[in-house]
C-alpha cells in the first residue's frame, strides 16, 4: 500500500503541471493537453481515495471522468481543426478578437 500522502502530492504535482501548461502555452493543442493532464490528476486522486476508504465510489467517478475527457478531446480537437482551417494558426494571442 502506497502512502496516501505520496499520491496526493503526485496528484497535486500533476495538476500544477497542467495549470502551468494552460497558463504558459500559447498553442491551443498544448493547452488542451494540459487540461487533460489536470483531469487525470483529479482522476488519480479519486481512485486513490476510493482505495483508501475501501469503497468503489471513486472508481465509478473515474469512469465518468474518463468518458468526459474522451468526449472533451473529441469535441475540442474537432474545434481546433476547424479553427486552424479558418485562421491558419492556433496561437491564442493571435486568435483573440476581443479588444481591451
Amino acid at each position: 500500500m502506497i502512502d496516501p500522502d505520496y499520491i496526493v502530492f503526485f496528484s497535486l504535482a500533476l495538476f500544477s503541471i497542467g495549470v502551468y501548461g494552460v497558463l504558459v502555452r500559447r498553442n491551443l493543442v498544448f493547452m488542451l493537453i494540459s487540461i487533460e493532464i489536470m483531469l487525470n490528476a483529479v482522476a488519480v486522486i479519486f481512485v486513490a481515495a476510493s482505495s483508501y476508504h475501501g469503497t468503489s465510489d471513486g472508481q465509478i467517478m473515474y469512469l465518468l471522468i474518463l468518458t468526459l475527457a474522451a468526449s472533451e478531446v473529441a469535441i475540442g480537437l474537432s474545434l481546433l481543426i476547424h479553427m486552424y482551417r479558418r485562421r491558419h494558426t492556433l496561437d491564442v494571442d493571435q486568435l483573440s478578437n476581443m479588444r481591451g
Binding site: V19, V22, L23, R26, V92, D93, L95, S96, N97, M98, R99, G100
Partner: protein, 610 residues
C-alpha cells in the same frame, strides 16, 4: 355687459394671434388687409368701449366685477380670470382703445414702406390686448400677467428694426431695467398674498383698511415693493434711463407705448391700490419725492437735447413725475386726469414728430430743421397745440390737470414740492417752445420731400382736438376717489401759476430771437453743465461704473464656475478610475486565465488559513 367687457381685450388679441400665425400656415394676407385687420380690431374694441360709456351714462358710482374662468386653484390659493370695471379702469380703457386706435390708424400710413408690416401690427395689437388685461384685471396676478406682457411687447417693438445693433441694445436695456422693478413687484405680490391671503385687489384693500393700522411697517413694505414695479415701468428715478433709449423703436410705438399707455401703468397701479397706499404715509411720501425729483431731472435734461424724440421722451418722464407727485400728495383723481390729458397731448406730439421725421427722411436733429411752418402747416399746427398743452398754457387740456395737481400740493401744505413742480412747469414750457421755435421758425434748411399721408393727418386732427378740449375731468373719477370738492381758490396763486408758463414761453422767444439756441457755449463751465444735462444727469455713466462694471467683474471672477469645478473634478476622477480598470480587460485569453488561477490560489489559501 360681461361679454362686452370680455370682447375689449379679446378682439386685439385675436387679431394679433391671427397675424402671427398666418405665415405659419402659409397664408399670405394682402397688405391692405393686414392694416384693416390690425386697425379694425382696435377700432372695434374702441366701439365696445363707446357702447360701455353709453350704457353707464349718468352713473358715477359703479363697480362691475365679472369672473370668466378659473385660472389657478391650489388649496386656498384661487386666481380667476376676472375683470373689474370702475371709473378708473374705464378711463384707462378709453385711453388705450381710443388713442390706441388713432395710433394704429397713423401707423398704417407711417409704416407703409416697411417690409415687416404684418409683424408690426401683430406686436402692436398684442400690446393693446395686454395693456387692456392689465387695466381690467380684478386681481394682482392677472394684472401682473398684463404687466409682463406689455413689457414683452415693448421689448419687441423697441427692437423692431433689429438689424441695427443699437436698437437691440436699447430693447435689452428697457427690458432689463424694467425687470429690476418687476422683481420688486413680484416680491410685493408674494408679501400681499402672505399678509392677506388673497390677491383680489378690492378684497385685499378692504381687508387692509379694516385690519391694519395706518403706518404699519408691513403695509409700508408692500407699498414700497409695488412702487418699485411702478417706478421701473413708468421710467421714474432711479430706473428712468431706459426710456430715452427706447425711442429707437418706430415713432408710433413711442407714441403709444412710451408716452400714452404703458409707461403710465405705474401710475395706474398706484391709483388702483390707493387704499393700500393711504395706510402708509411713508410710502406716499416716497412716491411724492420720487415724482418731484424725477420731474425736475427729466425736465432739465430735456432742455438741452437735440433729438426731437429724446426731448419728448424726457418730457414724458417729467410729466409722469408730475403724476407720481400727485399720487404722493393723495390727489388720485388729479393724477389720473393728468394721465389722460398727457396721453392726448403727448401722443399728438409724438405723432407730429413722426410726421416730421417721415417728411424729412428720418432726420431727428432739431437743429438741422427750421422754417418748416410754411412747408408743413398741418404738422406745425398740431405741434403748436401739443407744445402749448404740454406747457400747460391756459385753457388747454394740460393746464387743467396740472393746475389741479399744483392746487392739491398747496392744500396739503407741501410747499417745497409745490415749488419744484412750479419750477418744473417753467422748464417744461421753456423746452417745449424751444423745440417749437427751432423746428418751425427761422430759415428753412431742409426741404421736406413728401407730405404726411391722409391716414396720418386724421389722427393728428382728432388728437389735436382732444388736446385742446380734453381738459374735462371724468366725473366718475372724482366720485371714485372721493376727493375733496372744489375748494377755495386763491386767485393770486392761480394767476401766478398761469403766469409761470407764459413767462417761460416769452423767455424762450427772447432766447430764440437772439439766436442762442444751438450756438456754441461761451465758457467751459457752461459746457460742462450742458454735457451733464445732455447725458440725463449722467445716470448711464454712473450705472455703468457703479453697477454694471462691478457686476461684470464679479461674473468674470466666477467665469469658470466655482460650483461646476466640483463636478468636473468628479468627472476626472471617474475617468481615471475607468482607464485604470480597463487595463485589466485586455482581451488576451491567457491574461484572464492567469488572473483566474491567481485568484483561485489566493482565495483557497485564505479559506484554508482561516
Amino acid at each position: 355687459m360681461s361679454t362686452l367687457i370680455l370682447l375689449i381685450p379679446l378682439l386685439p388679441l385675436f387679431s394679433a394671434t391671427f397675424l402671427v400665425l398666418a405665415p405659419a400656415f402659409n397664408l399670405t394676407i394682402p397688405k391692405p388687409w393686414v392694416a384693416r385687420m390690425g386697425v379694425g380690431a382696435v377700432g372695434a374694441a374702441a366701439v365696445c368701449v363707446a357702447i360701455l360709456h353709453i350704457q353707464l351714462k349718468g352713473q358715477t358710482n359703479y363697480a362691475l366685477q365679472f369672473t370668466y374662468a378659473n385660472w389657478i386653484n391650489v388649496h386656498s390659493f384661487t386666481i380667476n380670470f376676472g375683470f373689474y370695471l370702475d371709473a378708473l379702469s374705464l378711463v384707462m380703457v378709453s385711453i388705450i382703445t381710443g388713442v390706441g386706435f388713432l395710433i394704429h390708424l397713423y401707423s398704417a400710413g407711417f409704416m407703409d414702406e416697411d417690409k415687416d408690416y404684418q409683424r408690426y401690427f401683430a406686436y402692436l395689437n398684442a400690446f393693446v390686448a395686454a395693456m387692456l388685461v392689465l387695466v381690467l384685471a380684478d386681481n394682482l396676478l392677472l394684472l401682473y400677467l398684463g404687466w409682463e406682457s406689455v413689457g414683452l411687447c415693448s421689448y419687441l417693438l423697441i427692437g423692431f428694426w433689429h438689424h441695427e445693433i443699437n436698437n437691440t441694445l436699447a430693447a435689452n436695456k428697457a427690458f432689463i431695467m424694467t425687470r429690476i422693478g418687476d422683481t420688486g413687484m413680484a416680491l410685493g405680490l408674494f408679501l400681499i398674498f402672505y399678509l392677506f391671503g388673497t390677491l383680489d385687489i378690492q378684497a385685499m384693500q378692504l381687508q387692509a383698511q379694516s385690519q391694519w393700522q395706518t403706518g404699519d411697517s408691513m403695509i409700508t413694505l408692500c407699498c414700497l415693493l409695488l412702487l418699485a414695479g411702478a417706478v421701473g415701468k413708468s421710467g421714474q428715478l432711479p430706473l428712468q434711463s431706459w426710456l430715452p433709449d427706447a425711442m429707437a423703436g418706430p415713432t408710433p410705438v413711442s407714441a403709444l407705448i412710451h408716452a400714452a399707455t404703458m409707461v403710465t401703468a405705474g401710475v395706474y397701479l398706484i391709483a388702483r391700490c390707493h387704499n393700500l397706499f393711504e395706510l402708509s404715509p411713508l410710502a406716499m411720501e416716497c412716491v411724492a419725492y420720487i415724482g418731484a425729483i424725477t420731474l425736475f431731472i427729466a425736465a432739465t435734461a430735456a432742455l438741452v437735447q437735440q433729438d426731437v424724440k429724446r426731448i419728448l421722451a424726457y418730457s414724458t418722464i417729467s410729466q409722469i413725475g408730475y403724476m407720481f407727485l400727485a399720487l404722493g400728495a393723495g390727489a388720485w383723481s388729479a393724477a389720473v386726469f393728468h394721465l389722460m390729458t398727457h396721453a392726448f397731448f403727448k401722443a399728438l406730439l409724438f405723432l407730429s414728430a413722426g410726421a416730421l421725421i417721415f417728411s424729412l427722411h428720418h432726420e431727428h436733429n432739431i437743429f438741422r430743421m427750421g422754417g418748416l411752418a410754411k412747408k408743413l402747416p398741418m404738422v406745425c399746427v398740431s405741434f403748436l397745440i401739443g407744445c402749448s398743452a404740454l406747457a400747460a398754457l391756459p385753457l388747454l387740456s394740460g393746464f387743467f390737470s396740472k393746475e389741479l395737481i399744483l392746487n392739491r400740493l398747496l392744500e396739503q401744505e407741501m410747499y417745497s414740492l409745490w415749488l419744484i413742480a412750479l419750477i418744473g412747469a417753467f422748464v417744461t414750457a421753456f423746452y417745449s417752445f424751444r423745440l417749437f421755435f427751432v423746428v418751425f421758425l427761422g430759415k428753412a434748411t431742409q426741404e421736406p420731400d413728401r407730405n404726411p399721408l391722409k391716414v396720418m393727418v386724421f389722427p393728428l386732427l382728432v388728437l389735436g382736438l382732444l388736446a385742446i378740449f380734453g381738459g374735462i375731468q371724468p366725473k366718475g373719477l372724482a366720485v371714485l376717489f372721493s376727493s375733496a370738492s372744489e375748494e377755495h381758490h386763491n386767485l393770486a396763486i392761480i394767476l401766478f401759476t398761469i403766469a409761470v408758463p407764459l413767462c417761460a414761453v416769452a423767455y424762450a422767444w427772447r432766447v430764440y430771437k437772439e439766436g442762442e439756441f444751438g450756438s456754441p457755449l461761451p465758457n467751459p463751465e457752461a459746457k460742462k453743465i450742458h454735457r451733464f444735462l445732455f447725458s440725463g444727469w449722467g445716470f448711464d455713466a454712473f450705472y455703468q461704473k457703479r453697477v454694471i462694471s462691478p457686476f461684470i467683474a464679479v461674473t468674470k471672477l466666477n467665469q469658470n464656475d466655482i460650483i461646476d469645478s466640483l463636478y468636473i473634478g468628479l468627472i476626472n476622477i471617474s475617468a481615471k478610475l475607468h482607464r485604470f480598470c480597463s487595463q485589466f480587460q485586455s482581451g488576451q485569453l491567457r491574461w484572464y486565465n492567469n488572473s483566474l488561477v491567481i485568484f483561485a490560489i489566493v482565495a483557497m489559501t485564505w479559506v484554508i488559513i482561516k
